[in-house]
Structure formats: structure tokens, C-alpha cells
Symmetry: C2
Subunit: 423 residues, 2 copies
Amino acid sequence: MGLVVQKYGGSSVADAEGIKRVARRIVDTKKAGHEVVVVVSAMGDTTDELIDLAEQVSPFPAGRELDMLLTSGERISMALLAMAIKSLGHEAQSFTGSQAGVITDSVHNKARIIDVTPGRIRTALDGGNIAIVAGFQGVSLDSKDITTLGRGGSDTTAVALAAALNAEVCEIYTDVDGVFTADPRVVKRARKIDEIGYEDMLELASSGSKVLLARCVEYARRYNMPIHVRSSFSGHVGTWVRNKPTEGGEMEHAIISGVAHDTSEAKVTVVGVPDKPGEAARIFRAIADAEINIDMVVQNVSAASTGLTDISFTAPKTEGRKAIEALERVQEGIGFESLRYDDQIGKISLVGAGMRSNPGVTATFFEALSAASVNIELISTSEIRISVVTRADDVNEAVRAVHSAFGLDSESDEAVVYGGTGR
Amino acid sequence: MGLVVQKYGGSSVADAEGIKRVARRIVDTKKAGHEVVVVVSAMGDTTDELIDLAEQVSPFPAGRELDMLLTSGERISMALLAMAIKSLGHEAQSFTGSQAGVITDSVHNKARIIDVTPGRIRTALDGGNIAIVAGFQGVSLDSKDITTLGRGGSDTTAVALAAALNAEVCEIYTDVDGVFTADPRVVKRARKIDEIGYEDMLELASSGSKVLLARCVEYARRYNMPIHVRSSFSGHVGTWVRNKPTEGGEMEHAIISGVAHDTSEAKVTVVGVPDKPGEAARIFRAIADAEINIDMVVQNVSAASTGLTDISFTAPKTEGRKAIEALERVQEGIGFESLRYDDQIGKISLVGAGMRSNPGVTATFFEALSAASVNIELISTSEIRISVVTRADDVNEAVRAVHSAFGLDSESDEAVVYGGTGR
């Protein structure tokens, strides 16, 4: 009966009814004998509405002030949640990120956690309280200014607090029943994964699975903190993300975790790059200087007759314009011929341990795509993942084909409980 | 060219347009060579909407959590205002009450300021910034919890910061042109008061004038901080509230400041009280123990034949039920006959220095009411104020009659600029 950290997202606390429902679930956990720390996001679309307001008063809202603005969102949800719990007869206190001891660097809008000093939370728990903590926010060590953690910030707050408080588990409540072998909106027979290791979860998250962000999984892996992803709308057991010991009998077999897909990226091709040492480095230095995160990179074999090669990479569509502009600035210096930009692509990834040493996995993967008449444009592999880029229109069909080929389909599609979009 | 503290209320920053307009005015003040500290309220009806939400999740929202909730309102407006100023090319930083050093006691929802330590504000000003501070909020000295200051809190924040920073003036921006000789919605020919002393302003505020609350005027008087009440919609000079030296020629004349009215109170009459020492004390002890603020108190002459008397008092309508319940609990002990409750009353007050020593003032006051056929139910006087209670229906007519009788009417009603309700 140890300490449990629970995180509820914006869709779970979108209105007064949702807040009361979440309050009852928290009280049930407390009644079961646990100490409970709750991390909560802003209600529903509050954050988007605040960003709209900011854009109305300023074309480029200052980072410090945007953080001050956005952190009001969790302040509202956490105070309401604490009130709702108290009206059920249990003691609760809410804490801002700063009060909870979430110390960050000074990079506004995407701060990184550098320390967690939850002294006030510990005191509140010792006094018999349920502690409600604002997700997504902290206070900078240097300037004492309020910061926000950027995308996936609330999940990361929850895992960080769980680690600092030596919690038994960090429960991430969402509107789906857990992590699935594929997106259930695309694959009707996708199965809920009961247990998955940190590495596989990381690959799934990086490959487009929206349920957990890679950042939070990385934090959990570093501190070996078990995460239980589950639905706030049902009482079902969800997906456990934790160190998964390899069982003896499986050591030499590939264990496929699931199929992820992602249509949020675009493909940039640098055409006619002189095929000599250092050219690729200059291209990616230009991209890095523009602070663009790239995903897959492929360089075609050079055509011997021309001495020129093509380099393709994928990056978020939202960074597409910035990438093109950065490359245009260095075109003359590098001397490549032209740029091609394609945002009608999709990526399908198969994730599972032991994949690299089982050549059959790759073969089955390509056979399945071929049978579904899906054309492959780029390929990239890691120790536990194989990804391909295809036309965006082919993605859903490709996911279904691969999911089926690896025997991931459930017996029936009745078992899948699914409540909405995963966030 | 000293330091100016400006306070903008919720109606001045109700939307993005309002925020941009206020930002331009602030920048103009800065350009004129002043250091500028701005205290801002929550946007429009934000606070009421948050209270609604609280009541949806909890019948009796906990004070600590309600304060956490409500303080998000100013967080939004102050961050947006800082962004808007920065987009005009000037440096601005926003600060919560806690960051600005507004230290309070621990009484949630109506905390009192006990210290102001504006070190971060001073640093921001020294760095060339305009400082934007959340009104209405502070941090408790003992528990380090977030507190709110209750009604009139933002005005009080502004005056307190002005005093702590040795400002030249505290400008209170509102949606009217200043303090008027009467409510311009009732008296078309009400005149804007150019200058008024703290004492008269206090009496006007206590008597129903909504432009400034007594609390903020008291604070300004204690620190001798001049207040300039003016419109955020026009560039007009407003009303200066400051120590007003009595001019030689006026020493023995009454100087009437204005007529205030108030229809927010109810009258409670305790009927048939035994006319012996200590009975009134027991009645008002019961009222005080219920934490009800009473305003006027009148005891009728005892009817010699019965040995019984009636005691009447007025209190806010919102406290009416509590007052009746408190008195019912002591009815048997005190032995009074019955209670009467009347919430259809109004109060008219005439405020001005030197009134007591000019009997003609009182006579003119009652003659004016009589000529307007207004019946008087209670009378109460102070050194610089005379107040009467009438039927609520008679209040507007009574205010107009008194305003006119004392020569306060302006030459025409064209001069009055009035933008809405005073808050």
C-alpha cells in the first residue's frame, strides 16, 4: 500500500462532471490505503484557447509571458479537482509546479526538468492530504520565472514526481484502455498490450503511437519507474510499461510489440549533391542550426556517371518551411541542384525485441506490404524497429496488412474498448 | 518624472482589443519618461465564471482552493498585457502577487495585506521594464499559500505597491471619468469632482459610491498616497483623491462633496426589546459573533407605558438571512417580541466637510426630501455625512432632489462623460 502517482489529461477533466468523476476515482485509490499524488492537465481545450488569446494581442508572444499565461490552465483544473475531492469528505491540497518543487532550466515553452524537490508534497501527504499538482509547469532555477515543459509535459511531471517520491507506480490515465498493438481506429482487431518494456515503448512512441510520448518513457526508464497506462472511463487494467525480463524460452525469438504509424511528417529531398566527403555534414549542420528535429535519413547510392547523389530526410510537417528556407540559404555554398518537398507521406513502423537477429521478420514485413500493393519509398531500421515511408494514402492499408501478417490480430474485434483519440 | 502605478479593472481588459488599448496607454506613460508599474484585474467576467465552475464541483468550495482557482484570472490578463506591450517594442514582465511581494495574512478569500516587499518589481524597473502585477492576490506569510484580497482587492494592491515603491501617484483606471457628485445614471447633471480629500472620499465610498472602495482609500490615507481616478476610455483628467488643505476663506463654510446612494442593504428591526441596560449589547454581540458588518443603528424612544423599545439596524442584504438566524438563536435569552426584515429600502447620504457646524445643511437636506415627498425611516449622522433610509422606490428621486438643493447640478448635462457601470 505505497504511494501512487496518478496523471489525468485534459479530456478526463474537460468539465465539472469529468472533474467529479476523476475525484471519485482518486478517493477510491486513497480508500484502498494508498498515499495519492495527482498530476492534472488543463481542462479540455483551455490551453489552445489561451494560445489563441495570446496571438490576438501579439504576433510573437514572449516566451516568459506565454508560460505565465498557459500555467493558469492547470491552476484552474487542479483547484477545482481539490475542491471536488474535499466535497467527498477527503483532505486535498493543490500545488503549482513551483510549489511542488519542479525545478527546470530557463528555456521557456519547452523547459527541461533539472531537479524535483517535493518537500511540500511530502508534508501534505504526511498530513493525510491527497496532493494535486499542476502538470506541464515548473520554475526556473536561475531566474525563478514560471516555465512550461512543452509537449507531453504533464506525463513527464507525473513520472518525475513519482521518481522523486519513490512511488510504487505512475498511473497515466487517458481516454483509451492502454497501449495497443496498432491504432484501433485503423486496425479494428488491434489488441491491448498487457506489458511492454521501456525500449519497445520508446520505439512505439517515437514511431507515432500517441498514448505516451517518448520523453516521459525515457524519464521512466532512467529511474526504473513502472508506468501503468489506463482509461479514466473504465476500471480495466491497462498497459504496464516496465523493465520486462526476457523469459528463457523466448531468448532467440523475435517478440513483436506492435505496429505504429505516423502521418505528421514530410519528406525533403536534396537533389544532386556532389558525392564527396563532408557534403552531408554541411546539409545537416544547416538543419541543426535551424533547430529542426529530423527523423529518418537516407542517402541513395551515387550514380557513378554524374558523381552526384540524393539525400532524403523526414521531419515534422510543421518544420517543413523552416527546413526548406535553411537549405536554400546554403544551396550555393554546397552546390546541390534542387530541393523537393513532399508532405503526402506516411510512416509505418514495426517494433519488437530480437528483430535484427531474425531475418524472417524483415522478409515477412516486406512481403505483407507487397501483397497489399504498398510501394516503399524509404527504409530505416534499428535494433528493435523497422520503418518504411509510403504514400500517405497507403498507410492504413499497410498497417492492417503488417498487423495481420505478424499474428497480432485479436480473435474478435469485440474485445477492444476505445474511447476516442489518444492523447 | 517619477514612478507611476496604474491600475486597470476587468472592464478595461475585457477582450484582446481592450488589452491592446490599455497597452498603448501604458506605453505612452512610459514614453513620457515615467517608470510604470501596472496592476491589472482579471478579464471581464472571468472571476464570476470561475466561481460558477467551483460551485459546480463543490457546494462549499474550500477557501485555499478557491483562491488558487481565482488567481488564475489575473495570471491570464497580466501575461496578455505584458505580451501586448512587448509587441509595441517595450520591455515588460508580469508578476504574480506572490512574486511582487504582496504578503498577506492567512484568511483565504479576504486576506489583508501585512507587508509589501517589491524587490523583484524594483529590479525589473531598474532593468528598464514595465512591471505588470496581478491585482487582488498575495501569498500568506505563515503557510506560503496563495491568497486573495476580496472585494476591492486590486485597487488596494495598486495603492499598497504605490506606497511601498514611493510612487508619485496611484492612477486607478475605470470606465467612468472619475468620482461624481452623484451617480450619473441617476442624476443626469452630476458633476465630476476634480479634487476630494481622503475623509470625504471615505464617506462617499462607505455610503454607496462604487468607484473606489473604502478599503483602498483608507490605505491611501494612511500612506498619504495621492490617487487619480480616471477613465481608461478617454484622456480626460479625472478625480484626484489626496490631502486637501482647507483654504482660508472656506474654513467656516460647509463644502459639500456629493450625494451617494445605496440599495444593497436591508433593515432588520428587533421589536419589543426590554428597555434595560445591556440588552442592546447582547443583540449586537450576537450579530458580531455571526461576523455580520452592520451599518446604521437606531434605537427608538422607549414607550414609557410598556418598558419596551425597538432597535433597527441595516446590513448588506447578502447577510440578511444570517442576521435573522443569529437573532432567533438569542430571542429567548433576550426576551424580545419579534423580528422584522425589510429589503426594500434605500439609503441616501450627503457628504461634505464642515457639515456638523452648519445647521443649515441638515435643514436644507430634509426640506429637499420633504418637497420631493420622500418619507424618512432612519437617520444617522457623522461629522461629515448625513444619511437617511427611505423606501427603495424613492431613492432616485431623493438623490436628484438633494443634489439639486445643494447646487451641485452642472450647467448642462452634456459635460458628463459616462461609459458604463462603475467598478
